[in-house]
Symmetry: C2
Subunit: 449 residues, 2 copies
């Protein structure tokens, strides 16, 4: 683990937010690509350049419902002096074109149908009598109800130049063109293009599988009864939701009791389905901090197959509030990254946004610019100055008003204040050296969700 050599002082060194993040991003690597069905690849990052195999459209085709004609036959046509043509049949979309349009002839043609040989242009049905021998019509009768529309005569009321209402083969993309580049994130329009050029599957980095577990013998599943001294487990719910929100497939394991052996075996069990493991709680300086106890020795062992096969988890103090105690490292034979977050609800959520989300999005192969939450500058809107501890970067909860360019603190700095968190949409960043921020000061904000 790079950190172990860079920071030989280990426990004593207080890590900056940037150092801890850098260590995580230096360690986490994008997942190996796999071939996925198109709709399973939604939101994923393409790892191949996609070349167009066949031109789009693959053949000259009509952009209108109308009649395929020879330009000379309709030259000078008007409603008073229509061109009268013999209808030789229908060309529906998807029907192979055996029809030929000779001089004095027309084929009834539908949008997207191939232009028959001999024809040079399409006149929309609204420019004709639709074969009824009366005035202009507004559309065709359904073939199933009126098959005679595909025969007889049609009167054309307006001329059409060669190529009028014809979409040329290759006018969208040509065979050999680059359709999409490696690195593209596949949203609906990109999926449209891939399907249109015939790609049923595509090579992408898969969504990371993130296993979320909270630790603490005091934790009770919501909906059950609390005994004395117990509280509800909220972290495993919040972080599972946050992991999905970041793009992951998230598995909530729920609360694990404060017993190192139970925790180790739970983690070992979960490794099989994890590209990343997130724990909460048990990382501080207490006598029951089980995550620290269970994982501190990992990586020192000779274990080649269990969780000990990773490079180990290091527990650190960060110059940040909330979120001071953090663990990070890799475990198991696949060197699966593990982030051990503190247990207070606000601490764990803020830590997720700052450290886990970028890790998830790095696993997805997203470009560096897209792995973090967006940030902005905003004017602090509050009645009195807010204090912040020296030497620690503080993240306060706030509501951001994009139009006014302001941010208003919500609730206090306590890392247990989950109600305030639920009413915030931004984190207000107070730098390490700042101990007080006056109302009206411009501050950095991290924009959530």
């Amino acid at each position: 683990m790079s950190s172990a050599t860079t920071h030989a002082t280990g426990q004593q060194h207080v890590w900056s937010v940037a150092e801890h993040l850098e260590d995580i991003l230096d360690t986490v690597r994008p997942l190996e690509p796999i071939e996925l069905q198109l709709l399973d690849a939604q939101g994923c990052v393409l790892v191949e350049d996609i070349t167009v195999p066949v031109s789009l459209p693959p053949f000259d085709n009509s952009s209108m419902d109308g009649y395929a004609v020879r330009a000379a036959d309709v030259a000078g046509a008007s409603e008073e002096f229509p061109a009268v043509l013999t209808v030789v049949g229908d060309v529906a979309a998807g029907r192979a074109g055996l029809l030929h349009v000779g001089p004095g002839q027309a084929a009834r043609i539908m949008t997207g149908a191939p232009l028959p040989s001999g024809a040079e242009a399409v006149v929309p049905v609204e420019w004709t009598d639709g074969g009824l021998g009366e005035g202009p019509v507004s559309g065709m009768r359904a073939h199933s109800a009126a098959p005679e529309g595909a025969t007889g005569e049609v009167r054309v009321h307006r001329p059409a130049e060669a190529r009028a209402h014809v979409r040329a083969k290759g006018s969208d993309v040509k065979a050999g063109d680059r359709a999409l580049e490696a690195g593209t994130v596949l949203g609906p329009p990109q999926i449209a293009l891939l399907a249109a050029i015939g790609r049923g599957t595509v090579r992408v980095r898969p969504r990371p599988r993130v296993v979320v577990m909270s630790t603490g013998s005091e934790l009770v599943q919501p909906g059950e009864e609390l005994a004395e001294g117990e509280i509800y487990d909220s972290n495993s719910f919040a972080l599972t939701a946050a992991a999905r929100d970041a793009g992951a497939i998230a598995y909530r394991v729920g609360a694990v009791a404060d017993d190192a052996e139970t925790l180790r075996s739970t983690i070992e069990d979960q490794l099989i389905r994890a590209d990343l493991i997130v724990t909460t709680g048990g990382v501080s300086v207490g006598a029951y901090d089980v995550v620290k106890e269970a994982l501190t020795s990992v990586g020192d062992s000779e274990d080649e197959t269990g969780i000990g096969a990773g490079s180990g988890v290091e527990f650190r103090k960060l110059a940040m509030q909330p979120g001071k105690p953090q663990g990070f490292g890799t475990i198991g034979p696949e060197h699966t990254p593990l982030l051990a977050l503190p247990g207070n609800p606000v601490s764990s959520y803020v830590s997720f946004e700052l450290f886990v989300r970028p890790a998830v999005r790095t696993l997805m192969g997203l470009p560096a610019a897209d792995i973090h939450r967006p940030s902005a500058r905003a004017v602090l809107k509050t009645g009195k100055a807010i204090g912040s501890p020296a030497g620690r970067r503080q993240f306060l909860r706030g509501t951001y008003d994009a139009e006014a360019g302001t941010v208003t603190p919500v609730g206090g700095s306590g890392s247990h204040l989950v109600a305030a968190l639920a009413h915030a949409d931004a984190l207000i960043v107070v730098p390490e050296k700042t101990t007080s921020v006056e109302p009206g000061t411009e501050v950095d904000v991290v924009l959530l969700g």
Copy 2:
């Protein structure tokens, strides 16, 4: 159907984009709420005001790992003259508090553990000798490795006022407080709060189930071979992805051949799992426009259980490009809304963004402000003026640069240009009365994805 009475002229009336949208939003109603497990409710809209049943925290508890003490016992303590206290045991988180801290006594206490009776404050472990009889320590040894830490003597090096490092019962939220209001969208922080107050399930509007089918005998599944005159089905893939993106659970039925009876029975089959049906293709004036053929008579019939039980589907011309032909109405015994979009890939995608997305988000119960894509004003960045047909609102594809405040057109106006669509992130709106837009003009843009 309100439209049938409002616009008795039916086929002849050319609908504005706003009129068509208004008809859709007047018809579509938010789905009936259901009780969902917390994590299944992510992204959904709450329909109940949530009141806090028990205060948070539910009891006074420690915010630090340290020692619970009586304030008088540590008054004046210093490293030179420490307060020496008898350790009466451990209070771990989740353990019910049978311990009592009397004069001259301390209990070792963990973050989140209930403050024992008699104790008034917590001194962090770093302010003590940790019971080792030496200098200040940086943490506790694990209880499993050193159970003696819960007994013996501890030297406290600094005083603590009453309530120091104690989180008061109810300091986050109090029983009876309003936790969240009806109408709140449940993201990770809101899920955190609901879990924290013990809610295992919550009453929300579910995600709408959207069935997507494309129509056209020319359509081939991507990955298979194209015969002459055939093209790949891209709409059913693109719109399934777009429906998910809007918040729906989307089912892709795929391409249905141009046969009215097949289409009717396919739609009838799918009704059981649909809160909304989207079709593409077959809505224009051609002789094989099967959606129009199959659904025009729906609603006129006496049918009480089949698709005819709805109020019917009306086919319209819209003053818009692309996307002129559109169908909308309700079908089946549940009066399930159906949007019949045109078949050109760009037309169907733009129609989805303008009409289906707001319908999906209305079904979800989102507030009016959140049902549409965000829009912005931007300066048109292009070499020459762009033309637009009079009387139709045009939506051109473009790339938006938020920092520069500009939008650059991508590709032409052809509704078959799916490659350009895949490289766009905005729609440039050219109003009905405008026939030419000069470079440098400020335009409205719809921001995609």
